[in-house]
């Protein structure tokens, strides 16, 4: 018997694994049984194996200028089939509504005319790109890839914390985490039917090709990266490799007469779809930052002319602007006529003066975020902040109420996590990834579970020292094998008779005789 989970104490939050002391939830029982057989020492050996594997593979990210192996916690996070069904449909619904919203604000603007969302909120967004107005993307897809951040509240209900419609990252870690887990901890998989995540790159490539400009027969796709110094460079090269497409930098591309091409040894080669991992600001110096050398001058006009697909589209940032986040449920009702499957976190709109006054008085009980921040930068958790911080924050909010939102703190759910040689509860979130090809939205069964490693911390971003967990979505017992993107050929029959045994070299009987002769001498 192992001692691994012996001193596990529940925190004051919903725990993913346990309902009480040593009482695992039903879908965690077989995992618990395996973990019970491990001692702390066994577990640490696996941790070493994991670190070696990540370091050897160069799966790292930069934290304050330092390369570190991606911190994967070896206790997986398990989601049963019924919970996953809710998440999947909720994410799909949300992406659908946000697509409709983007098409609307860069087009007719119905939702603004109807007064459902105040126009000034949209046009004051730093991510509202006038250059994107009137661009009709192929098949109407602007959100090729979305990452919707979910948290589980004290009642165990999933809520949306934020939407990422620009260049959500983390999918490479989802796939690499799974690969590392099967190598380091094969026996954990034996008693579970875990749904596959490795199809993602294939699906992404298919949907990128599907959203190529109309009439292109064999579209050529590239991944556009800012370069090796970008924090997510590993992911860019991972996706390019897994999709078998070129990874290009801005200087590899040229745009002439609205045709985007890459410089190759065989001359210029036309590019039809650019999966860019560069922010809007740096994408095209003709439209945005004139000083940018990372982008491709002219690419936005090429997209407007329908000669190239930019994925994700320019201007998506207005959809995941935090000031518009409280309106997403309204968007779902407005465009789809449905009630939201996944609720928002209770959020206060600080641009309304009386709400702002009310919130300023109780900053110590709220979570406050800048509307254009990402990666957890600038976030202030009221209950964890001191007076000085709060006063400074109050002053900044007063100066620019449009720049901030306030939320009720959510007691993020916890799960057992191995930190400092002990298993303890740590808070976590979940980022499922969705791919839209214009016909359907596919959600990868799993996602990135991020863990806040310091005890009690609620900030899970890897740029703030967060870790991650392999996320297992269990298949329901009635599910058959999952369909693959491209079905395998009809299988030929299994050979009944064994094939011929492998040929063998000269027999070594002669060698033994020589040895005997040797001893006789």
């Amino acid at each position: 018997m192992g001692d691994l989970l012996d001193d596990y104490q529940l925190a004051d939050a919903y725990d993913e694994m346990f309902t009480g002391l040593s009482q695992p939830r039903e879908h965690y029982q077989s995992l618990n049984a395996v973990l019970q057989t491990l001692s702390r020492r066994d577990f640490e050996e696996r941790c070493d194996a994991r670190d070696r594997a990540f370091r050897d593979a160069g799966i790292t990210f930069q934290l304050s200028g330092e390369e570190r192996p991606f911190p994967l916690d070896l206790v997986p996070r398990i989601l049963p089939a019924d919970e996953w069904t809710v998440i999947e449909s909720g994410v799909r619904q949300r992406v659908q509504a946000l697509e409709a919203f983007l098409a609307d604000v860069y087009g007719p603007g119905r939702i603004l005319k109807d007064g459902v969302i105040p126009r000034r909120l949209v046009v004051t967004s730093t991510n509202f790109q006038r250059a994107a107005a009137g661009i009709e993307p192929p098949r109407g897809v602007r959100v090729h890839v979305a990452g919707i951040d979910l948290v589980r509240d004290a009642e165990g209900k999933f809520r949306v914390l934020e939407d990422n419609l620009r260049t959500p990252s983390g999918i490479s870690y989802v796939i690499e985490n799974r690969r590392a887990m099967t190598r380091v901890f094969p026996e954990l998989f034996a008693s579970h039917r875990v749904r596959r995540v490795a199809d993602y790159p294939t699906r992404l490539l298919e949907s990128l090709r599907a959203t190529a400009p109309e009439g292109v027969e064999d579209p050529s796709v590239v991944v556009l990266t800012p370069g090796v110094h970008n924090a997510a460079y590993f992911e860019h090269s991972f996706l390019a490799r897994q999709m078998g497409v070129e990874l290009v930098e801005g200087s590899d591309l040229v745009c002439h007469d609205n045709i985007v091409a890459m410089r190759t040894t065989e001359g210029l080669q036309r590019v039809d779809v650019v999966y860019r991992r560069i922010d809007d600001d740096y994408l095209d110096p003709l439209h945005f930052l004139g000083s940018s050398v990372l982008g491709c001058p002219g690419i936005v006009n090429a997209a407007r002319a329908g000669m190239v697909t930019i994925a994700n589209a320019v201007g998506n940032g207005v959809g995941d602007d935090k000031a518009l986040y409280p309106y997403v449920p309204d968007m779902i009702r407005f465009y789809l006529g449905e009630e939201p499957v996944l609720a928002n976190v209770e959020t206060f709109r600080l641009e309304e003066p009386d709400v702002c006054e009310w919130a300023l008085e109780r900053l110590d009980r709220l979570v406050v975020k800048p509307v254009d921040g990402s990666g957890g930068h600038g976030l202030v958790i009221g209950p964890h902040a001191d007076d000085k911080e709060l006063t400074a924050l109050g002053r900044r909010i007063r100066r620019n109420p449009r720049g901030w939102i306030a939320q009720e703190p959510v007691a993020l759910s916890t799960a057992p996590t191995y930190v400092d040689e002990a298993m303890g509860p740590r808070h976590l979130d979940l980022r499922p990834f969705a791919i839209n090809d214009g016909e359907r939205i596919w959600v990868v069964p799993g996602g990135l579970t991020r863990v806040a490693l310091p005890e009690g911390s609620l900030v899970v971003n890897s740029s703030q020292g967060g870790g991650s967990k392999d996320t297992w979505v269990l298949a329901s017992p009635t599910d058959g094998p999952e369909p693959v993107p491209d079905p395998a050929a009809p299988a030929a029959p299994l050979p009944d008779a064994p094939l011929r045994p492998p040929d063998r070299g000269p027999v070594q009987a002669q060698g033994q005789q020589q040895q005997q002769a040797g001893t006789a001498c």
């Binding site: 491209d486 395998a488 050929a489 299994l494 050979p495 045994p501």
Partner: protein, 310 residues
């Protein structure tokens, strides 16, 4: 060159390639079985054993992934296990130390001596590290051979052995997979076995489908682990061993068989290959066996000690 030495080099090539390919096969299938719980483990394991020339009905212990891994990796009674292959390669090198570079010898010798400790390390743990070690040792030997061996007859025999084995093992790998039980991702798995997945993606630029994957593994001219590439290389080695080119025909049996096989594949449509895959694979295996016999008869003649009966 002495026939005995030539034969040893040929077998060093074959045995290290066999050990490497078996490690590749097991590595990928072991993890595939873990990740894809829909695969029927017993049937899949039986398919793997049959492909390696064993009868699963006789091997009661090897019915699950762990049993098969044990049998094909460590079982010294199984002549085709990784351990047996590496030991056989070492034995051949021991008898031909003066003909190979000392770096090559040391690599094989270290591998042989490290085997027991590697096997112990794996006991009760994930075998991935072991497979990786085997692949690395094989790669190291190939690299050292490439940079330290003169391009003389010995080199040709080593390369010939390696590539004949590659044809044979790839045929086995493909027979192991044409069972439905591997589940829907079977072709991705098969490509991964040959480290061909990424090369495939760069070549075809679309997802894995049966016909393209088969085409890549059988017929690709540029990928070094494809059957056609291995046949081409083996053919070149045979040509180097016997550079006389008459005005008509070839009087060397091995070259004739290999050349015919090479020509067939060169002009084969992938749809035809897919239609008669089992026959084609059997044909490939027969051809390698025939080439092996022809090479033995011609070059290694009489190297076996005559066992005098008492």
């Amino acid at each position: 060159m002495l026939s005995r030495i030539a034969e040893s080099l040929y077998w060093i090539g074959r045995y290290t390639e066999r050990a490497e390919d078996t490690a590749r096969l097991l590595d990928v299938h072991y993890h595939h079985l873990l990740e894809d719980r829909w695969a029927d483990e017993a049937t899949a394991c039986a398919g793997l054993l049959r492909a390696m020339g064993d009868d699963p009905d006789e091997l009661i212990a090897a019915t699950d992934a762990d049993g098969v891994t044990e049998f094909l990796s460590f079982d010294t009674k199984n002549p085709a296990s990784i351990t047996s292959s590496l030991t056989a390669a070492w034995e051949n090198a021991r008898g031909a130390r003066e003909a190979i570079s000392s770096e090559m010898w040391e690599t094989l010798n270290t591998t042989h001596h490290t085997l027991p400790s590697q096997a112990r390390l794996v006991a009760g743990r994930t075998p991935h590290d072991f497979f990786r070690w085997v692949k690395e040792r094989a790669a190291m030997l190939a690299g050292l051979a490439d940079s330290t061996l003169s391009r003389d007859e010995g080199w040709s025999f080593l390369v010939l052995g390696r590539n004949l084995e590659r044809v044979d093992m790839t045929a086995r790998l493909l027979s192991a997979r044409y069972a439905e039980t591997w589940g829907p991702t079977v072709w991705t798995t098969t490509l991964r076995c040959c480290s061909a997945y990424e090369a495939y993606l760069r070549t075809y630029r679309h997802g894995v489908d049966a016909s393209s994957a088969l085409e890549f593994l059988l017929l690709d001219r540029l990928f070094p682990r494809s059957v056609l590439h291995a046949l081409t290389t083996a053919q070149r080695s045979l040509g180097e061993l016997d550079p006389r080119a008459g005005r008509t025909g070839v009087d060397d049996d091995a070259r004739r068989i290999l050349g015919r096989c090479h020509a067939e594949l060169s002009f084969l449509r992938v749809s035809d290959a897919a239609a008669d895959l089992p026959e084609l694979l059997e044909h490939l295996q027969d051809a390698t066996a025939q080439v092996h016999r022809a090479v033995s008869d011609r070059y290694f003649l009489d190297t076996h000690a005559i066992a005098w009966s008492a």
